[in-house]
């Protein structure tokens, strides 16, 4: 049985299911309940996070398990690391991934390394949910897609879903994973609707999904950019080219085989990653394919990314900043030397 749910509700449902299943699961973050200890406030009216994603959860599970924190990211993310190591299974919300600047130590030097430094004697079953992505007119400090920073760091898993279905199944996997997982939610996807299975299901972390089959070109696209790629693929199809779209879904670990198999078939690769261009996931995937699948390649790998610049506020600039189908088409046109594609 499936039903239509928004991306936001799919996440809410995953958290609810996880908290029902296991009393050790707690939800912690800034206003994740919303309005703690306000006398007149009924729990069902509580904010449920700045975007309302966790609305209603405090009503079901109470304030012992749904915990509003002060604005102290180092404090509560660090606390979540050891809460995880001492018996809980926290879902910590880092409101915007940009705020990692206030708690990178707790993620990079504590959470990610604890198990290794302790010689394998600890587990850190922590999930950090965090918003990312440009397009919301939220400017330079609230629009970044910083998953490359986390992918760089050993000891973390990094998950970036692109659909409500994937979001629910991957969040459930993340919560019940015994390693620290950073779970990225694109703020511009929250209102997107999609089919989602009823009840509890998981999607394995580390398994890519082919969002569209094709034989002429592989597009690996991350998060929201999967939809940009799908749009480009539809247009390419009209021109007679079928693109295969691989959604890695998890960046660390990365499903190298699915990507390589696709490139082996198509011989061409475009990677769409809205993050900053240097040392990003696009370069990571490109380098991996060159290392392990060099002979499959009929053409240079092209990367469609943001420019090397902060995210501008002005809507007109932000629109230029992001990848779009036209940029993908132009890259493909260049790749195969067919200008008629780019000009539409």
């Amino acid at each position: 049985m499936t039903k239509k749910l928004t991306f936001s509700k799919a996440i809410n449902e995953a958290i609810t299911l996880a908290m029902n299943k296991d009393n050790d699961v707690i939800l912690i973050g800034e206003d994740v309940a919303g309005g703690a200890e306000v006398d007149h406030l009924q729990d069902q009216e509580a904010w449920g996070g700045v975007m309302g994603v966790t609305q209603g959860i405090v009503e079901k599970f109470g304030r012992n398990r749904v915990i509003d924190t002060p604005i102290a990211e180092a404090g509560y993310i660090g606390a979540s690391v050891t809460a995880a190591a001492t018996g809980l299974r926290p879902i910590a919300e880092l409101m915007f991934n940009d705020f990692i600047g206030s708690c990178l130590d707790e993620v990079m030097n504590q959470g990610a390394k604890l198990r290794y430094m302790f010689g394998g004697k600890a587990r850190v079953p922590l999930t950090i949910r965090t918003m990312h992505g440009a397009g919301y007119r939220a400017a330079a400090q609230h629009s970044q897609s910083l998953y490359a920073l986390f992918t760089h760091i050993p000891g973390l898993k990094v998950v970036v879903p692109s659909t409500p279905y994937d979001a629910k199944g991957l969040l459930l996997s993340s919560i019940f994973d015994d390693d620290p997982v950073i779970f990225f939610e694109d703020k511009t996807l929250y209102t997107m609707k999609g089919e989602v299975d009823e009840g509890f299901y998981t999607i394995p972390i580390g398994k890519a999904d082919i969002k569209r089959k094709g034989k002429d070109l592989t597009i690996v696209a991350i998060g929201k950019q999967v939809h940009t790629a799908l749009k480009a693929a539809n247009q390419l199809s009209k021109k007679g080219y079928e693109a295969e779209i691989v959604d890695p879904r998890s960046l660390s670990p990365l499903d190298e085989d699915t990507i390589l198999d696709s490139v082996a078939k198509t011989g061409r690769l475009i990677i769409v990653d809205e993050a900053y261009p240097r040392c990003n996931v696009a370069t990571d995937i490109s380098a991996m394919v060159v290392d392990k699948g060099f002979d499959y390649l009929d053409a240079p790998i092209k990367m469609i990314t943001a420019p090397h610049s902060p995210v501008p506020f002005s809507p007109s600039l932000e629109d230029l900043y992001l990848p779009n189908p036209e940029k993908i088409m132009a890259a493909f046109a260049e790749m195969i030397g067919d200008n008629s594609i780019a000009s539409k």
Binding site: D68, A139, P312
Partner: protein, 331 residues
């Protein structure tokens, strides 16, 4: 109104009118932004300063363009009090090329370094170290400039509060930390999130003066700030001033504010308005005539309307701006 005689003595009619004007500018600016945001004409997140005018204005009344301030996500009021251009501000909020930041910053990063306004900040607590840096420049270069850090009750629990104030204290820097305690950080109350009874109580842990003032009373803020700025300029080090205030709107535009209690809303917004309070005081104490203030209100309304027209009609940034200003030395 509980304002001491000494203030009355030092407060000129000119200053009083300037402060009145700035408060009204902030209020009208924010009401206008509220309206145009509601119409869906403004992009992004917008946090309004309405209700807290007395804080920004009472403090900035003592500053020159050479003095610096660091601001917050709720930065329009600080900008206006520090003398930023209204047209440039509104254009910035519209994302236009004529904006203070060429449209690249927006409401959350509005800034004008020539006016000593070192930027609104999208990062809660981001301002503490930045204010300390401006204070450090003053100390190293032996100027008499001061730096002011505006911050919220929510920010008071961030680690940067602690690091920033401790550094200012040990180096005896000319930095004034101004808490805008409006009772809430987003939906969380000050009482819930903060273990201290007053933010000013924390000053003792840094061996610096901590003062509590009625942030709805312009002259109380003005007076406390005067003392703090004097200390700072005299090389006597930092001060923490806690202004108890209230934000009339929600955390951001679009917030249903279910966490606020209705009684408090009415009490604060309708019966404790800082502008009204100062207006009554100014009239009663002959700092300004009714005509003066009417004229100010009129002129501000026009200025705000002008700013909207300016913002609306200004061109969007050129595509070439996208990758400009990332570096000084290359594009």
């Amino acid at each position: 109104m509980g304002t001491s005689k000494s203030i009355l003595a030092s407060l000129t009619s000119e200053k009083a009118k300037w402060m009145y004007r700035k408060m009204v500018e902030i209020r009208e600016f924010e009401e206008m932004v509220h309206d145009i945001f509601a119409k869906g004409e403004l992009p992004g997140f917008v946090h309004l300063y309405a209700g807290e005018e007395a804080v920004a204005v009472g403090v900035c009344a003592h500053l020159t363009d050479q003095d610096s301030i660091t601001s917050t996500h709720r930065g329009h009021g600080h900008c206006i009090a520090k003398g930023c251009d209204l047209d440039g501000m509104m254009a910035e909020i519209y994302g236009k090329s004529t904006g203070l930041c060429k449209g690249k910053g927006g409401s959350m990063h509005i800034a004008d370094i020539e006016k000593g306004m070192l930027g609104a900040n999208g990062i809660v607590g981001g301002g503490f170290p930045l204010a300390v840096g401006a204070g450090l420049t003053a100390k190293v270069k032996k100027t008499d400039h001061v730096a002011v850090c505006f911050f919220g009750d929510g920010a008071n629990n961030h680690g940067t509060f602690h690091e920033g104030i401790n550094m200012a204290a040990i180096w005896n820097l000319p930095v004034i930390f101004v808490a805008e305690n409006n009772g809430y950080g987003e939906a969380s109350t000050f009482e819930y999130a903060s273990s201290c009874t007053n933010i000013a109580d924390r000053a003792a842990g840094y061996n610096i003066p901590g003062e509590i003032v009625d942030g709805k009373d312009l002259l109380a803020v003005y007076e406390a700030a005067e003392r703090a700025v004097k200390r700072a300029r005299n090389g006597e080090g930092p001060t923490l001033i806690e202004c108890k205030t209230y934000r009339d709107y929600g955390h951001f535009e679009g917030d249903a504010q279910t966490y606020k209690n209705d009684k408090e809303k009415v009490e604060q917004r309708d019966h404790n308005d800082c502008i009204k309070r100062f207006k009554d005081y100014a009239l009663a104490n002959n700092l300004a005539t009714k005509e003066d203030l009417d004229a100010i209100e009129d002129s501000v309304k026009k200025a705000i309307e002008h700013s909207v027209k300016f913002g609306e009609e200004s061109p969007l940034p050129d595509a070439s701006e996208l990758t400009k200003d990332v570096y000084v030395s290359y594009e």
